[in-house]
Amino acid sequence: MNVLVYLVPMALALGLTGLAAFLWSLRNGQYEDMDGAALRVLQDDDVSMERD
């Protein structure tokens, strides 16, 4: 059972890291434009698209 001494804190630390990452992304405004984010990923910024 000694394995719990470091496994449990490790599990908790992982969970807390996930929570912190989520809160950071929320503060960073990453959920402000969910539809736009899905479309922006398809854009080729390095290719010229001005054909029309």
Binding site: L4, L12, G15, L26, E32, D33, M49
Partner: protein, 737 residues
């Protein structure tokens, strides 16, 4: 027209850079993002342009000395997107902050629920061969996570419960808060006394599920609010204001009392005021419902929303004086809003019934076990288990879940909800009252005899009409397919417009101007214009036209067992033929705002639940007085603000959809409440008998929550809009006139 456009009221400045938020119309696909942002960034001085695709808004930053705000809008127009700046309302910023807070709470509750579940599952599955020390360790660890997490994530419920209790009321959050707090408290005591069962997982999971519901509900409300805000911004009018010697174009929102304005033919009058000079006819159908035009001369009072028809006017903006129409409307509105009894929502009614029953059951459980000879400790533990298992997870999700799905479905059908309880009130409706002008009919006049004309001649006439600013030409121009005006068209004021088409002269305007004897037309509200080209000529009749599906919609409303009534401010002669065409027997005409209210009050007195559909300024008090109200997106501003929902597009079908979806939603809300009752009827006896282990509590709670959520999704499945009139999201931003 080289005139200055003054947008300073929308621009925020900070150290030489300017910032403006715009609502942008016509955005349909991914390519628009790049087109708009790329196009703007090519302008000199633009630092950043960022389009939010979700709510169709654009934020632009630029260096002030290099670029004017009007250039940004002009550039967007060149790209093919209508745009209008807007000031983000305080309420919207407040809601965005609240949303972020809810999501933070949700994240914390989710983290806590998952980690505690990890520990709890170990305790449940290993309870036989787990040492007491290990179990205690796991329980203490759970407490360490649960207590701070619940203190943070439970705030939305605790605050709301506290607010309700302070005013001696009960809402759903009171039993929720009580359940969470007692569950945590009891678990702590049990943990300290090395007991087998702790309910930390139930408490946090409950918070997690409920916060999911709250956050979704809030997100849906924000989405519809943003769509409504965009519509309002894109509809906003501009005014031509005299400033010293020049005329400056300013947004109507910037007008102040005392400003002198120029109103050209074809313009909408941007504010209430008095005519200073000029004579003209104005179309007041949006104000009074009257389709015949009124002649105005210097000194006449005119209202925002009327359309100037024939002559150029100068006017002075005035505040609403006593005795004017707007003053009367506002007075009636105040009364109607006051009188509107506070509607008690289904969820609150359920909570009022539910809380006393549950708390009494818990109290009886203590007494019962004590009477049966159990120890005080055991009796209280069992009673708290009853509180936890009845904790209204399913009950609290039963209604918001349906609400979220139903408002999403309504949104796709082109109905944007203004108020939260509109769905419940819509479902109760048994009488529908329509206004005529702009509601049953289209908001702008159309060519009435379009079907009888040669299509090629009509197309040429309509394309020529694009070159004229006259309101009748604007009505004709709506028939056009190719939106490029002819080159070299010349407008002759008061006569018409002419141009050379395929080598022959074409003329559009007064019959005499086109060389035809004018047919006598004494039908009030209808106007005749003529078109001639290469020896051929036609006469076009322009007047208010019924919405294409009006007859069909009204027939279906009646088939659903609803009474349909028309209350119009227009003359009886104009209302009678329309009522006859639609098959509506019960109609009244020539009503002023007070008489409309009186008619509604009389119906309410008979115990009827009235849905009022109207668009005019004169309908605003009636909308506020009715049980629930709808208005088309073209409605006057005050009217729209008092409607419970706004519908988009040129069809009347959204009215029927709103009633149908709301009725279905309410049925599902009731079903969900019954599901919650059935769940409790099964779970409570188990808890009273003392068999509610944490495992059973967790399973019951998540099972019932998932059940009601799945049931709510049926609103969406049943009411999927037929193809062809869906995609309100795009409509909401694209189809603004």
């Amino acid at each position: 027209m080289a005139e200055t456009l003054d947008l300073s009221m929308f621009v925020r400045r900070h150290e030489g850079t300017a910032h403006m938020d715009l609502a942008v119309g016509g955005i349909g696909c991914a390519a628009c993002i790049r087109k708009i942002e790329g196009g703007l960034k090519r302008l000199p001085g633009v630092i950043e342009a960022r389009l939010n695709f979700t709510n169709r808004r654009l934020a632009v930053d630029w260096r002030e000395e290099e670029l004017a705000a009007a250039d940004v809008i002009a550039a967007l127009e060149d790209l093919g997107y209508p745009a209008h700046p807007f000031q983000p309302e305080r309420a919207e910023a407040e809601e965005a902050r609240h949303m972020r807070w809810l999501v933070k709470c949700l994240a914390v509750a989710g983290f806590a629920a998952m980690n505690i579940m990890l520990l709890s599952v170990s305790v449940w599955s290993g309870s036989l061969d787990m040492s007491q020390e290990t179990r205690d360790f796991f329980h203490w660890l759970s407490a360490l996570i649960a207590l701070p997490a619940a203190a943070y994530a439970g705030q939305p419920f605790f605050q709301s419960a506290w607010r309700a209790l302070r005013t001696r009321q009960l809402n759903m959050d009171v039993p929720i808060s009580l359940g969470v707090i007692t569950a945590l408290g009891m678990s702590l005591v049990e943990t300290a006394s090395h007991a087998h069962h702790a309910y930390f997982d139930s408490a946090t999971m409950l918070l997690f599920f409920l916060l999911c519901g709250r956050a979704l509900d809030h997100a849906m409300r924000r989405k519809t609010r943003a769509a409504a805000g965009n519509l309002a911004a894109l509809k906003a009018e501009f005014a031509h204001r005299f400033e010293q010697s020049e005329v400056v174009r300013v947004p109507a929102a910037a007008l102040k009392s005392g400003d002198r304005l120029l109103v050209r033919p074809g313009d909408r009058i941007p504010a209430d005021g008095v005519v200073l000079s000029g004579t003209s006819e104005i179309d007041e159908s949006l104000v009074t419902g009257e389709t015949a035009r009124r002649g105005v001369i210097a000194g006449a009072a005119i209202h925002a929303g009327s359309v100037n028809f024939s002559g150029t006017l100068t006017m002075r903006v005035t505040a609403a004086g006593a005795g004017t129409l707007i003053d009367e409307v506002e007075r009636l509105l105040e009364k109607a809003v006051d009188a509107k009894s506070r509607y008690v929502r289904l969820a609150d009614r359920a909570a009022r019934l539910y809380a006393p029953v549950v708390h009494a059951t818990a109290a009886l459980t203590v007494i019962g076990w004590l009477a049966a000879g159990a120890s005080m400790h055991d009796a209280i533990v069992t009673a708290i288990a009853v509180l936890i298992i009845t904790c209204p997870c399913a009950l609290a999700l039963a209604i918001p879940a349906v609400q979220v799905v139903a408002s999403g479905t309504l949104f796709r059908a082109g109905v944007i909800l203004n108020s939260g309880d509109a769905i419940e009130r819509l479902a109760e409706v048994d009488t529908v009252i329509f206004d005529k002008t702009g509601t049953l009919t289209l908001p702008e006049p159309r060519v009435a005899n379009a079907a009888a004309l040669a299509p090629d001649l009509l197309e040429r006439a309509a394309r020529l009409a694009l070159s004229s600013r006259h309101p009748l030409a604007a009505a004709l121009a709506r028939e056009v397919r190719e939106r490029t005006p002819y080159d070299g068209a010349i407008e002759e004021p008061g006569q018409g417009v002419r141009a050379m088409i395929d080598g022959a002269e074409a003329r559009l305007g007064r019959p005499a101007f086109c060389g035809i004897a004018g047919e006598a037309n004494d039908e009030p509200g209808a106007s005749t214009i003529a078109f001639s080209h290469a020896g051929r000529s036609v006469t076009l009749v322009v007047r208010q036209k019924l919405r294409a599906d009006a007859a069909e919609t009204i027939a279906e409303l009646r088939a659903r067992g609803l009474d349909v009534i028309i209350l119009s401010g227009d003359r009886p002669a104009a209302v009678a033929p329309i009522a006859a065409h639609l098959g509506v027997v019960d109609w009244r005409a020539g009503l002023n705002p007070a008489e409309k209210i009186a008619a509604i009050e009389a119906l309410k007195g008979e115990g009827r639940r009235v849905l009022m559909v109207g668009d005019g300024l004169n309908d605003a008090p009636a909308l506020a007085a009715a049980h629930v109200s709808l208005s088309p997106v073209s409605a006057a501003d005050i009217t729209q603000a008092h409607a419970d929902a706004v519908f988009l597009g040129e069809r009347l079908a959204p009215v029927l959809d709103a009633v149908r979806i709301a009725a279905h939603a309410r049925r599902l809300m009731r079903q969900n409440l019954w599901l919650a009752v059935v769940y409790n009827a099964v779970a409570v006896p188990i808890a009273i008998l003392g068999y509610a282990t944490p495992l059973i509590a967790a399973a019951a709670m998540s099972g019932s929550s998932i059940l009601v959520t799945l049931n709510a999704l049926r609103v969406r499945a049943r009411n999927a809009p037929p193809s062809g009139r869906s995609r309100a999201g795009q409509l909401a931003t694209a189809s603004v006139p």
